[in-house]
């Protein structure tokens, strides 16, 4: 243990410590991109990076919501299931009930937010660990999915297809409208966390909930709000995923909660709460996306290497977090 403590004290340039995981992620990202460019000619095409955004827009939105929750020191395991539920509800209502797109959209977003709100209330008022409550939420959402239907439903609603197929062009390159939505979500989240009381209270609760209470901060409201935000972001992520896939499926987004958590952690947010940035989460999602892209470019490696590499990165970053945070006695 002494060696561990030594390293920690050497890292104890406190002002910098907060940013250390972020720098590490940036370096990692640069390294990955650099190695990609060096190995594959086609990699230098800017469209490669844009494709990472296109393929991971939904994950980005979900991970932003997760960032709020993790900043308070909590965790939300229900996000993947809520994403799937959203695709399923959207698809059923659009295809089988023939509802108009602009009624379905607010409805599914409301469902996600309500689920989050409910879980937040149980976590706060009944003082049950977040992971078990959101686990129940995950069962609930997946169960609802299966109750709606077990087979995949293709969406051919005109609005959905337009969102799926239109491209926002600049020069030779393009992105999908979903990317723009995701980036707007990121910007709003950055603003909320940095410039509103809700955002600052989120950090305060993660830093020290008891102090936050004694300082008179609205703990109940904030904690419930972050789970509501996470639920809303999951629903929005689900909408984006249904744009991307043009289908609703109970098996969509299985394990997405793990990807989202991994992105947040790799993005430098401490799992104990109180420290981290949304922009870090963006970097985290990019890392995950680039891993996939590199593996695709390589062609020899199989897709499961993604999971192994993500696991290894998680390990490295959690170890890093462990080194820079003082051990609580």
């Amino acid at each position: 243990m002494t060696t561990f403590a030594d390293v920690r004290s050497r890292l104890a340039r406190p002002q910098q410590r907060r940013y250390l995981p972020l720098y590490a992620t940036l370096a990692l990202l640069a390294l990955m991109y650099g190695s990609g460019v060096a190995q594959y000619e086609a990699f230098s095409d800017p469209q490669v990076v844009l494709n990472v955004f296109i393929d991971n827009g939904f994950l980005l939105v979900v991970a932003v919501g997760m960032t709020f929750v993790i900043l308070t020191g909590g965790i939300d395991l229900s996000v993947g299931a809520v994403v799937a539920l959203t695709t399923m509800v959207s698809a059923t209502l659009l295809q089988e009930q023939g509802w108009p797109a602009f009624t379905v959209l607010p409805l599914v977003l409301l469902i996600g937010a309500t689920l989050g709100f409910g879980m937040g209330c149980i976590i706060h008022y009944f003082e049950i660990q977040p992971f078990i409550v959101t686990l129940a939420g995950m069962f609930l959402a997946r169960g609802l999915c299966y109750t709606i239907g077990t087979s995949s439903i293709t969406i051919d609603d005109p609005f959905w297809t337009r969102m799926a197929q239109s491209k926002v062009r600049f020069g030779d390159n393009f992105i999908s409208p979903s990317v723009i939505i995701a980036l707007v979500v990121v910007l709003v989240a950055v603003y909320v966390l940095a410039f509103t009381r809700l955002g600052r209270n989120t950090y305060a609760i993660g830093g020290n909930p008891r102090s936050a209470h004694l300082m008179g901060l609205p703990i109940a409201r904030t904690r419930i709000a972050v789970y509501t935000i996470s639920g809303f972001c999951s629903a929005l992520g689900g909408v984006l995923l249904s744009f991307y896939m043009l289908s609703g499926n109970s098996l969509h987004a299985v394990g997405m909660e793990l990807d989202a958590i991994a992105a947040v952690v790799i993005g430098g947010t401490l799992l104990t709460g109180g420290s981290g940035f949304v922009l870090g989460t963006v970097l985290g999602v990019l890392v995950l996306g680039l891993i996939q892209t590199l593996i695709t470019f390589d062609g020899r490696l199989s897709s499961w290497w993604t999971k192994i590499v993500i696991g290894a990165l998680l390990f490295a970053f959690i170890l890093l977090q462990r080194l820079i945070t003082p051990r609580k006695r």
Partner: protein, 352 residues
């Protein structure tokens, strides 16, 4: 009578019995157990047989939760071990070679031990929170399992291997025997040695345990290793029963079912006192729930909804805050303002 109601297994057992009885309405011959072709048959036997892997995983989980931890990686370990065993068997020329199967089983269980030790190392030595530490293997483990199976579903055709999960020994399904043996072993290991007490001590009060001279690191390590091993056995049972290994889906959400079984069995998520009998009852309850849903003709897809309901109810009942608010809410003197604010302030310690 009162002591009976207060016994901590009273509610889980009652729920189990009620659930079993309710099956009689839909399946008149539900309790019938018969011997056919020298094999035991019947719904009850099926419940135990299909519930055996869950019992295994939940047993290990019980010890981990008793130390105040949690192991999210058991589902992945299930997949990895099933994959390794099937891969090893499929690689050998004669799939029916008993030695070959034994080697495969030993390899798989050895790996399970190793994976458990890895979790234990992260939690007990490096000091990472258990949820986070085991999350790593939960994520990477699926990839490892697929790496072993090369992304395919490995099918084996080996009768000795089939025995573990799908075979019969002396008319009884072998899986049930294994589950019985491991449960008995777990009881022996924890209650005939001092391990159980030391685990409860570490989970109940870690600092007091340290001051009493307990090697809490060693005890915690051991709990995670046992959890890994149990998950490994479950992985063998599952893959053997279907004679194939699916790195992606084998053991999916097993960690959640296992946690649920432990919690239903009356072991608190906060750690401390644990009950192996309770966990077994909890696991059987979950399996009965699944079976009941199938036999009553409710769409099987709704199983998850019921589980969500059960998790919520059990956790609410276990939560002191919930009990205080719901059961004692009206007995409070009116001068005390209700709500979480007071509950939280009272916890603020101001040292003398």
């Amino acid at each position: 009578m009162n002591t009976l109601v207060k016994h901590r297994l009273f509610w889980p057992v009652t729920m189990l019995v009620v659930l079993l009885l309710s099956n009689l309405i839909f399946t008149p011959g539900f309790f019938k157990v018969e011997v056919r072709d020298g094999h035991l048959y019947g719904s009850l036997i099926d419940i135990v047989r299909f519930g055996a892997p869950l019992i295994m995983v939940a047993l290990g989980m019980t010890l981990v939760i008793a130390t105040g931890g949690i192991d999210l990686s058991v589902g992945s370990v299930v997949a990895i071990c099933g994959a390794l065993a099937c891969w090893r068997i499929s690689e050998q020329g004669d799939q029916n070679s008993v030695t070959g199967v034994l080697v495969a089983v030993a390899l798989a269980l050895g790996l399970a031990l190793l994976l458990g030790a890895w979790n234990g190392l992260l939690v007990a030595v490096v000091g990472i929170q258990p949820i986070v530490a085991t999350l790593i293997l939960m994520v990477a483990g699926r990839g490892l399992a697929q790496l072993i199976t090369d992304g395919q579903i490995i099918t084996v055709n080996s009768s000795p291997y089939k025995l573990i999960g799908g075979g019969y020994l002396l008319t009884v399904p072998f899986a049930i025997l294994v589950a019985l043996a491991v449960t008995a072993l777990a009881v022996l290991l924890t209650r005939r040695t001092a391990l159980g007490m030391l685990i409860e001590s570490v989970g109940g009060n870690a600092e007091a345990s340290r001051l009493a001279g307990i090697h809490s690191r060693r005890i915690t390590m051991m709990a995670y290793i046992v959890a890994g091993l149990c998950a490994g056995i479950a992985g063998l049972m599952i893959s053997s029963n279907v004679s194939s290994a699916d790195g992606n889906n084998a053991g999916l959400w097993y960690e959640l079912d296992a946690i649920l079984a432990v919690v239903i069995g009356g072991t608190s998520l906060a750690g401390g006192r644990f009950s192996i009998a309770g966990t077994v009852v909890g696991a059987l309850l979950i399996q009965t729930l699944t079976t009941t849903i199938y036999t009553t003709g409710i769409p099987p897809e709704t199983t998850l909804l019921f589980k969500a309901l059960v998790v919520t109810i059990v956790c609410l009942v276990q939560s002191p805050a919930f009990r205080a608010k719901v059961f004692h809410g009206r007995r409070r003197p009116p001068s005390t303002p209700a709500g979480p604010a007071t509950a939280a302030t009272e916890k603020v310690e101001v040292p003398a």
